[in-house]
Point group: D2
Chain length 462, copies 4
């Protein structure tokens, strides 16, 4: 990386999971719009062809009039090739295939356990973690060997355990985990100001929030906009829309299982007096199974839906076809800002700007009462070669209890995965709030699910 | 208190709950058998007559041939009168009456929530805590004012929150909580050595254990006897008796709801590889409601029973009649060692001996990963005017998760009780592992129970 | 305080020490230049006339063409009058008079102990602290009573113990301590970039630094400008100027005892490999007396001088005369930006902007290895109604040792002052690095100094 | 190790430094007197002949009428041979020779720095640490490889850094450091009870103390005997003998530089109100050089003397001749109890008894305010295969400041030794309280001393 005037050039990015048709395309779009950065992105993927296609798509951007920056994309033949010389490592992988995800999300339904997403906590999140952790062990070892000074940005779920594994394996890693769920809640607060106060033109970044918790189960205990305290307003908002829900376009939740009407947001506020800062589909999975996900009717009553893996499969097929068209030029790649902070973060880390935003990092005191080293989500100050968490304070004991339960489960899962300890993994499974069935049944489910993901559990005695 | 040669004389004990017919009689018995201690016990009780009867019973002991020490018993007319001048304060009260206990234990059964004891955690333990904490606020304020240098020994349940409240109100208090549940597990290990190894004549105190956890949910991760590691032996023991259970006299569990066959002990060991150190009836209440207390059949299959409050009422009536006979001399008070450590503790605190035993105190690092100030149970070193916890290490993350959930609930209950915050109390209620029903039903139960105990909730908005 | 569009109006500031002719005038100047803020400043001073004069000076600004904001200044007759209704409290007092300062700074010289400033640590700083702490107890009690929600900004020295006392007395206070010494080092780095790299036009705020330590003994372990790592450059700079020193205008240090040539900066870097971030005159006082302040020759060889109190007296007299001229309009108040962050901080706290800058606050984990609650200096994130420290990491053990020695002395001084414990104060005195004389002599000095400041030690047995 | 009835047999001890003529002979004596233990001691020494002689001396004991236990002594040809199979490892080595010790203790005298012992802190202790740490790295690696489950007992000085290095290299080591200095203070309290109260027959172990600090700079803030609070008595004692000193046999201090008259004990109590618990010769070295060790006259006035290395050389030669006589049977080995706790500790660790005594271990919370991992001295509870520190509380801030300064220096020395960093070692050297000379001179002394010990600093750039 070099500085030329006020531009940083020759930035080298390794993209692990570089065949991705979601995050990778988004990054290309965002990089293309940022005139102050340029360099090379090495795309590494276990599906080399997918990476090569993305390289072709990315390189087609150069020369386009609407593109402000020159980036070279290369498919890398190995993790080592991608990492060597990298200033930044971006990780966004699909751990396993849709077949395992099918088991993660839908098998528990046979036992009366319903999951809206199934990639973070709950039976599905736990299984996904067990197969992801060994992959992240390998990635962390690669980074330690080939790019120890690089900044690493993770987007893969389960976010907490991915980042946690990176630090466990290579404690001096400079890694962060980035997630847009908090942004969604900031946007909800923007909508609230319009709805309640008629204020227009407020941007997400105008909403200052104090963030604390763990990924997808983050909380906001202080929020303001132009000096206005938003907590009392949110109380009013939650009362107004608690029953019917709030959407920018009412009714849309029913059209897509990726949407919601924020009813769980409002219910949690009513109960805990603090704003939950993730989408309803994620939040629901952190609470006891009897609450929001008891059965399909209950789920529907909360105006959310289960995201069926079949839908993901279908979306994947569409994206594959689109990738082919983009690769061979049949379709032009559309530039569209993602709303993610990635490019801002890159700019801050190279020294072009200063930024405070939320991030997942090991707890070093930024949240009180959470064990040191557990990965938590809070704001951090981003500057040249530096990400320093901002002290977020402490959750009130009722919420702390809910968060800590997951933190401890995650620590248990990590240790189970690293030591290949089935007993320990089962203990975490049984302690998950969604697992409200009798231990014998739960044990049977656990073994069936584990068996489905066994291809990704090398060295386990199954 | 004075020393005369190797005896400590003129010891002044304030006994709060001095009308008690259980613990108070036990203490009289144990004091009578200890030749090195003598002094005065001031019995204070909201039922003055009960205290006066006990004073009469205690004073009758003086002069008896089988009694080794002279103690004077006096009924005190007020807390202040009892506390003033005290070297020791012993607290053993019944918070409320059997009417509230009836609601605590049995009302949740209407909602499918079963409790074996109902005085520590679960819906019953929580309600009991809410009405006990204000009483302990008053006691703590009294101690701060009238006996700030006294050592305070608590026996009342919920143990953890009683001790926690004392320290919250008067942080410099010298208070400990004593409980015999760990002793029961030590005795089980004695029985094990006889059963598996044919060893006879081993005493409870020969079993060295490392204790860590919270009261009634304590764990032993290191146990030895004469250099023998007892953990592998216990594995064998748990396998041998896991299904059928183990009792000194097989089958007795079915005769009394105060007994058990240790099946839950064995099941927890199988799952967590560490010895749970409380009776099965207590342990069951700390685990999810779907495990051991799902319904009466499940409970019976684990060879434990629910302790009906009607039985306590009946026992209470018997004790009352017996108290009358003892008071007026119709029946002679029988001396019988309780097996409690109280007298050993008194001897250590006055400087007559040195002792290491388990005790409940605020965490100051004796257990890793538990918030500072939360009351935990570990070993401590007892010496003259000094109780210093021994570092017990850290629980493995799977067990830690279980314990921490209750710790956080207890912190929530404490704050709810001190600030009279119904919302907060409900949050803790919903997070209790026994509450596996839907939140709406749980909320209804909560309000009914709270209403039943309202006489003991001064200042609450109900 | 209210928002009108993008302006915050009706801000109420209580200024304790409002008769000040330095900081108060600077604040007037800075407020006058900021169009987005307006309101009222209540000036409170034990010298009422001084406050009244300043009010007159301040109010004369209104209507002037070069003034962008309307502020009303009022002299307050009591602390209560000043505090009531305040959104902000600014504290900048002179604790005692120049007579006590004369003793603080110069009496130790009779014993061979030399101090360049004498207001932070060393014999002088300690005495100053003993008389300042009772004043801050009173101020803290006033804030708790009359302005508990106000943000409090302290400028008085000894900074650390002033802020520490505020939190000790009123733990929920929202107080920070602001100091410009770090800015001076940022400016030195600006000069360095010009000197070594020929870079022009760089502003202080372009220099991103990680700050950690205690006030006047702060350290910078990471510094960058536009992505450039400044630490290796500083090594080069320290080698180039280590012997001769560096000044913008060479030789100026000899003209004023408020200046230096940064030789101590360079020497400390050579020894510790981290940049000390305060002026040489302050830094010298934190190191052993044998190092930089051994005797007048040694002091001069480091190109610094002792600031004689007589000079302060003379400056004070000049300011007094000037104050009269300004009050009665003989002289026009000159607007001049101070370079302080105060107005930026006010803007951030009302919600007008977001800021990361250095500040003194109780340690809640922002620096590792420093006791919780001790006041430390690090960066913090400033936002609406929120100042949250940024995690600064940990000092290397050699520097940590130096800092911790002062931290512990300061904790000792605090306790000595609060409990009026002469023995404890002496223990801290003897442990100060500048006190390298024999304990008997040091004790004699201590008692003489204490006697000189006795008028400000109510309740002490002297 | 096996149990036969109430005896532990076949205990295997590895003795590193097994050619020792002090500690090794003492251990032989103590083992010979303990009927419940028997086994094998493997003596390893870099001087093989010395170990072989000791083996011969030890084996001659078997069969003697006054010997109660059978122990076999063997000289081991390598560290591996000694460690393999060991249940216990005892380490008591002389790091380097008297030549380096001569430089450690006496070279600083040329610069006006006097040391009474020179093996713990001060210039001599620091140099000794630098050459000892690499030896302990090797020992720790050997233990990790060949005896990872053994209990390790260290007697070598500098105690703190020896134990600290063992844990740094092999964090799971089960190591403790044992020192008798606290026993000396307990004996002083026994003498005090006789002197002030006429009490006879009190044993050292009857004096219950709470111990906290670091080795040779340990403090007792609570002391009792049979319920009597000894702190007020000690105040009286310190006043009575503060000026003239106290000895069992008055005047003996002048006869031997290993003795003292406790004047520094009394002076420290007067200043800090807590009992210092090490010999005066050690305590003096932890305080500033201007206090007790300013010059030979000052030293003599405190009724202590410098221990000249020439005296150690002469004692060594006498012991060598004696060793020869003992080896070939010319002289019979005299049994004499040492007063050390080693055999009691062995008995507790094998499970024969329970013990609470003082020990050096990494801080895991037993002392508040000291960094985790730093080696501290407190009481611990010794049981079968378990040493658990007892919580000792926190030192008052004035004493804490003194202790922490050494703790931080020791952490600096450790890191300097492990990374062979001369700059860091110098920083610690300059921060030692005995180094009160100008930094330039101190630097010259440092380099000369370092040069003298260079043979033991492999890999350093000197």
């Amino acid at each position: 990386m070099r500085f030329e005037g006020e531009k940083a050039t020759d930035i080298r990015i390794a993209y692990i999971g570089g065949g991705s048709k979601g995050w990778a395309w988004g990054l290309m779009s965002d990089l293309a719009a940022e005139p102050k950065l340029s360099g090379t992105v090495k795309l590494y993927d276990i599906d080399y062809q997918a990476a090569a296609n993305n390289a072709a798509i990315g390189n087609r951007l150069n020369g386009r009039e609407d593109v402000s920056a020159r980036w070279t994309y290369e498919a890398a033949g190995s993790l080592q090739a991608a990492l060597t010389g990298a200033d930044f490592v971006i990780i966004s992988i699909l751990p396993g295939t849709f077949a395992e995800m099918e088991s993660d999300v839908h098998l528990p339904e046979e036992y009366g356990i319903y999951q809206t997403v199934g990639d973070t906590v709950g039976p599905g999140g736990l299984m996904r973690a067990l197969r992801t952790i060994p992959m992240y062990v390998e990635i962390a070892e690669g980074i330690e060997r080939f790019a120890p000074d690089a900044w690493v940005i993770n987007f893969t779920n389960p976010m907490t355990l991915c980042v946690r594994t990176l630090y466990e394996v290579f404690p001096k890693i400079k890694a962060i985990g980035c997630c847009h769920e908090v942004f969604g809640t900031q946007n909800l607060l923007v909508d609230m100001l319009k709805d309640l106060k008629g204020l227009e033109g407020i941007a997400r970044r105008d909403i200052q929030v104090n963030v604390l918790g763990i990924n997808h189960f983050t909380w906001i205990d202080q929020a303001s906009c132009r000096g206005m305290d938003l907590i009392p307003l949110y109380r009013e908002f939650a009362e107004k829309y608690g029953e019917i829900g709030f959407e920018r376009e009412p009714g849309r939740w029913a059209e897509s299982p990726f949407r919601s009407a924020n009813r769980i947001h409002f219910d949690l506020f009513k109960r805990y007096h603090v704003i939950a800062a993730a989408g309803d589909r994620h939040l629901a999975e952190f609470m006891p199974g009897t609450w929001y996900l008891k059965d399909p009717e209950t789920i529907r009553s909360w105006k959310i839906g289960i995201t069926p893996v079949s839908l993901r499969v279908q979306k994947g097929e569409n994206l594959l076809r689109r990738s082919e068209r983009l690769t061979n030029g049949e379709e032009e790649f559309p530039l569209k800002k993602t709303g993610e902070d990635t490019v801002s973060i890159l700019k801050a880390l190279v020294g072009l700007e200063s930024l405070v935003t939320n991030v997942n990092m090991p707890n070093a005191g930024q949240i009180g009462g959470i064990p040191a080293g557990a990965v938590v989500e809070t704001n951090a100050s981003f500057r040249a070669d530096s990400v320093r968490p901002v002290q977020a304070g402490e959750l009130s004991p009722d919420i702390h209890a809910l968060v800590l339960r997951h933190v401890m489960n995650q620590e248990t899962v990590l240790r189970a995965a690293l030591t290949r300890d089935k007993r320990l993994a089962l203990a975490a499974f049984l302690n998950d709030p969604l697992v409200t069935i009798a231990p014998g049944e739960a044990e049977a489910l656990f073994h069936r699910m584990l068996n489905h993901t066994r291809a990704y559990l090398p060295g386990w005695e199954l």
